[in-house]
């Protein structure tokens, strides 16, 4: 055989166009159709015999042949025999084969000259004609008439059968309508429409976010007067995203938009798209936008607001590769400083990106949209202009009329979220959400305005300076937190039997909100003094050294596991830190150990452990990552592991041991800074004892009061003038010495805390 395996001469199979005769058929292929028609014929014959017991076989055969099925089958059999004869000749006679092949090829080429659409319509006509004829023949057979008569009487037959048909349709309708009704019911809710004047909030009620408000006003103006931009060839931005930390006023801004705009405002509940069943979210989105289109046509525009947009606009943990790379890029920038990696080659940047990829955690949590809700929202937002409505799309098309294009729907989409990274990038592309505004923490001026406005609603005795001071010492306060603080201050005043809020009330409220309620437990006197001294050392170091931050509050009141603390407030927004500033921070941490050892004759408490760990970590990172040591080698976070530090603060560096050069330098630098801190505290020993006393008396004092005590002047809540008195300072030294003695020999009766001079004491008692 030509294709024998092992044969050296492989023969390719002949192509159809190269054949000289028709390809021979298998014997079964020749006879199968004839066999089929004969079997059907036999069945018809058998049916004739079976249905009439008196008909002889010969007459039955004659009748079978000359009834419609018999004639049809006979023709089929004849046709098939002729066809097989034709094939048989074509398989043997080359001339015959080529003759017919030419005829068929010419026929094919003539048919192919007809346009495909025309061929399709002809085929469709023939198909439907056959279907109609067969249906008519069957119907005619059932009712005993000719097929044509059956077609004519078909409407009458349908009408007669209508009661039964309608019953069936009704049952189907009932079965379907149950699901429709359930889904319709579940797809409702979560969407509120507010008409103009329903909302009383105005832009003037939003404080501290003027920059963002201006942009939003601009968007509103474009919505209400689109020609202003469209006449110049532009388009009205369709979407705004407000993102930022919680409480910064995003929802309030949206509420103000509702109050200011002359258009309907649709508020979408964040939970509206959390559904029990698959597909309900899709229905809700479609229903929402259907409503929006109607409102926009009726009122000339509409605004829709999605609060907590991450519940809807996120694909959950499935952050795209694109987004991961974007996040990684940001991580690189943050690691390497303000220029990021833009000054290195593409290869180096890719290598760095790969290294950072494991560090960057994709946006976890947020919403999830596995049921097509997000996709439906993206589709609705994409602005695809398509004809709508059954009459417009279907009826006009059937009549050969082009459907009308829909009008321009003026829909402004506003979204708010505090997790912008979890939003799908497709949602944030231009054309959907055109503008993205960060609603961050208010600036000092914004906080000042917010304080003024909220304080303006209550009775208070704060001066302008005090209000300004409040704004300055609240760097991360949001509108919501300021409102809460003022309200808490009012509660404190009412609790004290007053209806006028003082500066002290606000400070207390602020401390309460920021740091929580103290446990209320009292120290034993010895411990109270040591804790106060510990915190006083931090406070004095901070006061004397820090330039970029001030003291917010110093306290010795216990809050859970925290015995006391001194919390700083940055005076300005900074993004980079100098080496000298890092050293100051380290010295501030070291101050507790230095102070305890200095004042307790070399002894110190366990409480310095946390401070020392922080100091060590800060120093180590600055040496390893920011070239602030004697080495130029620098390590990034990837090389330091996920956090860069082990839980006990000791950095884990691949290939380097703790006992190595880095460890030596850390120890040396710490010792150097320790010495400097020691010199500082020794120089300002009196300040430490003064602040210690103030903490023991008041438990919690503000940064202003710390400064007043150190400077020996009257503070907002604490009169520090007594601490300027040399005699009082001597008493403080004696008190401290007694405390040390009590600590050393474990006296049962610790020393009494010195009382302030009479005038200051009266003021303290009266506060």
């Amino acid at each position: 055989m030509a294709n024998d395996i092992g044969s050296s001469a492989f023969t390719s199979r002949i192509r159809d166009e190269d054949r000289r005769t028709r390809k021979p058929l298998d014997w079964w292929d020749r006879v199968k159709l004839v066999v089929l028609w004969v079997i059907l014929y036999a069945l018809v014959f058998w049916s004739t015999i079976a249905t009439n017991p008196i008909i002889p076989a010969g007459d039955a055969l004659y009748n079978t042949t000359f009834t419609a099925p018999g004639v049809f089958l006979s023709l089929l059999i004849v046709f098939e025999l002729v066809r097989q004869m034709h094939f048989a000749i074509a398989e043997r006679a080359s001339g015959y084969y080529f003759f017919w092949r030419r005829i068929f090829e010419q026929t094919d080429s003539r048919v192919m000259r007809i346009r495909p659409w025309t061929r399709f319509r002809i085929a469709r006509f023939v198909r439907w004609a056959v279907i109609l004829y067969v249906a008519a023949a069957i119907t005619g057979g059932f009712i005993g008439t000719s097929p044509i008569e059956a077609v004519v009487t078909a409407p009458q037959l349908i009408l007669q059968g209508m009661p039964y048909l309608l019953q069936i349709v009704f049952y189907m309708f009932v079965a379907i309508i149950q699901f429709v009704a359930i889904f319709w019911f579940l797809s409702r809710g979560g969407i509120d429409v507010y008409m103009p004047d329903d909302v009383r909030t105005r832009f003037t009620d939003v404080w501290g976010q003027d920059r963002v408000l201006e942009r939003i006003k601009e968007n509103i103006l474009f919505l209400e007067n689109p020609e202003a931009i469209e006449d110049h060839g532009g388009y009205v931005p369709g979407g705004i995203l407000l993102w930022g930390p919680p409480g910064t006023g995003k929802t309030l801004m949206a509420e103000a938009v509702a109050g200011e705009t002359g258009r309907p405002y649709v508020f979408v509940d964040p939970g509206a798209f959390v559904n029990m069943f698959f597909g309900i979210g899709v229905l809700k989105v479609k229903g929402l936008f259907r409503k929006l289109r109607k409102l926009s046509l009726r009122y000339g525009g509409v605004i829709v607001f999605f609060d907590e947009a991450d519940t809807l606009g996120s694909r959950g943990g499935q952050v795209s590769q694109m987004r991961r790379e974007a996040l990684a890029g940001q991580a690189i920038s943050s690691q390497l400083g303000c220029n990021g990696a833009f000054f290195v080659s593409e290869t180096a940047r890719a290598a760095l990106a790969e290294e950072q990829r494991q560090v960057v955690v994709p946006g976890m949590g947020g919403g999830r949209s596995f049921d097509g809700t997000l996709q439906a929202l993206l589709t609705e937002l994409s602005g695809l202009t398509k004809p709508r409505g059954f009459m417009n799309r279907v009826v006009r098309r059937v009549l050969g009329i082009r459907p009308k294009h829909p009008p321009k729907y003026r829909i402004l989409v506003m979204m708010a979220t505090n997790m912008p990274d979890s939003l799908d990038p497709a949602l944030l592309r231009p054309g959907r959400i055109d503008r993205s505004y960060r609603v961050g923490y208010p600036t000092k001026d914004g906080r000042l305005e917010t304080y003024r406005n909220y304080l303006g609603r209550i009775q208070h005795s704060l001066t302008d300076d005090e209000v300004e001071r409040l704004a300055m010492v609240s760097p991360y306060a949001t509108g919501a937190s300021i409102k809460d603080t003022v309200n808490e201050a009012l509660v404190i005043a009412i609790r004290d039997g007053r209806d006028t809020v003082t500066y002290g009330d606000v400070i207390k409220a602020k401390s309460l909100k920021q740091h929580g309620l103290p446990d209320g437990g009292a120290y034993v006197d010895r411990e109270r003094h040591s804790v106060a001294l510990h915190e006083a050392c931090h406070a004095v170091a901070m006061y004397r050294l820090q330039h970029t931050s001030i003291i917010d509050v110093a306290t010795i009141e216990r809050r859970g596991d925290v015995g006391g603390f001194v919390s700083p407030i940055p005076v300005e927004d900074r993004f980079v830190q100098w080496r000298s500033e890092v050293e100051i921070d380290i010295m501030t941490f070291l101050a507790s150990l230095v102070g305890e050892r200095m004042f307790y004759e070399g002894d110190h408490t366990q409480g310095v452990g946390g401070d020392m760990a922080q100091a060590t970590a800060l120093l180590t990172r600055s040496l390893l990552s920011h070239a602030m040591g004697s080495n130029l080698r620098t390590f990034n976070a990837g090389m330091l592991g996920n956090s860069g530090l082990m839980p006990n603060g000791i950095p884990l560096v691949q290939g380097l041991s703790w006992e190595g050069a880095i460890a030596e330098e850390v120890e040396q630098r710490l010792a150097d800074l320790y010495q400097r801190t020691h010199e500082l505290l020794a120089q300002h020993r009196d300040d430490v004892l003064a602040v210690t006393h103030a903490l023991e008396v008041h438990s919690t004092i503000s940064g202003d009061d710390v400064a007043a005590v150190i400077e020996g002047r009257k503070g907002p809540l604490v009169d520090g003038r007594a601490y300027a008195d040399a005699d009082f300072r001597r008493r403080l030294e004696d008190y401290h010495a007694a405390a040390v003695e009590a600590h050393r020999v474990r006296h049962e009766r610790p020393p009494r805390l010195p009382e302030l001079p009479q005038a200051q004491h009266a003021e303290v008692a009266g506060e």
């Binding site: 009439n52 008196i54 010969g58 007459d59 055969l61 004659y62 006979s74 025999l81």
Partner: protein, 200 residues
């Protein structure tokens, strides 16, 4: 195939046409040349049967047909005066409750006047014999009497199935002279008459 079929069938069309009321189990063979009166004509003609018997018939008939050796219309087929060619009238109808109860044991008496008014004709005009075939019991009547001014011969087989819930009637009628002329055909027709108890 056609040639083979024609060969098998003796190269000629069948001499008979085979009538079957398949749902009711009545079968007979008629000469192929005899023609059937169109059903519409038949039904329309029966609309004129306004007496009680006619009303009952129209309400209970299940299957019926009228054939004749010559082409005639329904009115002529049911006219009092006999036609000059044999007319066959065959039908199957349901028996209403009263009728079923009235049959009793004497089937002959019950079916005596189904088509031929035997009771009212002179004695000897009608010959009635019991007819039994395939479980069906009934009578075979042959009556010669004047109708519409002419002498006619009517031969009828009226029979009941075992369940006695239906009435099967096969009647042949024509003038006395034509009955003789078509005697062989008429005998063959009656020979072919077959009943099978229907299912259900």
């Amino acid at each position: 195939m056609l040639a083979a079929t024609l060969l098998l069938s003796g190269c000629s069309a069948p001499a008979h046409q085979y009538i079957a009321a398949n749902g009711d189990g009545m079968y007979f063979a008629l000469p192929a040349s005899w023609t059937q009166v169109p059903m519409k004509q038949l039904v329309k003609a029966q609309q004129g049967w306004t007496d009680d018997a006619g009303n009952v018939f129209r309400q209970t008939v299940r299957w019926q047909g009228v054939w004749s050796a010559h082409t005639i219309d329904a009115d002529r087929a049911f006219a009092a005066r006999p036609a000059s060619a044999p007319v066959v009238f065959a039908y199957v109808r349901d028996l209403v409750g009263v009728e079923q109860q009235g049959i009793g044991k004497d089937v002959k008496a019950a079916l005596r006047d189904v088509l031929i008014p035997a009771s009212s004709l002179p004695s000897g005009s009608v010959l009635t014999q019991t007819w039994t075939r395939s479980g069906f019991t009934g009578i075979h009547q042959t009556g010669t009497y004047v109708s519409g001014g002419a002498m006619q011969t009517t031969e009828v087989v009226s029979t009941l199935p075992p369940a006695r819930n239906r009435l099967y009637v096969f009647a042949m009628r024509c003038s006395e002279s034509c009955y003789s002329a078509y005697g062989r055909d008429i005998n063959a027709v009656f020979e072919s008459l077959t009943f099978k108890e229907p299912r259900g």
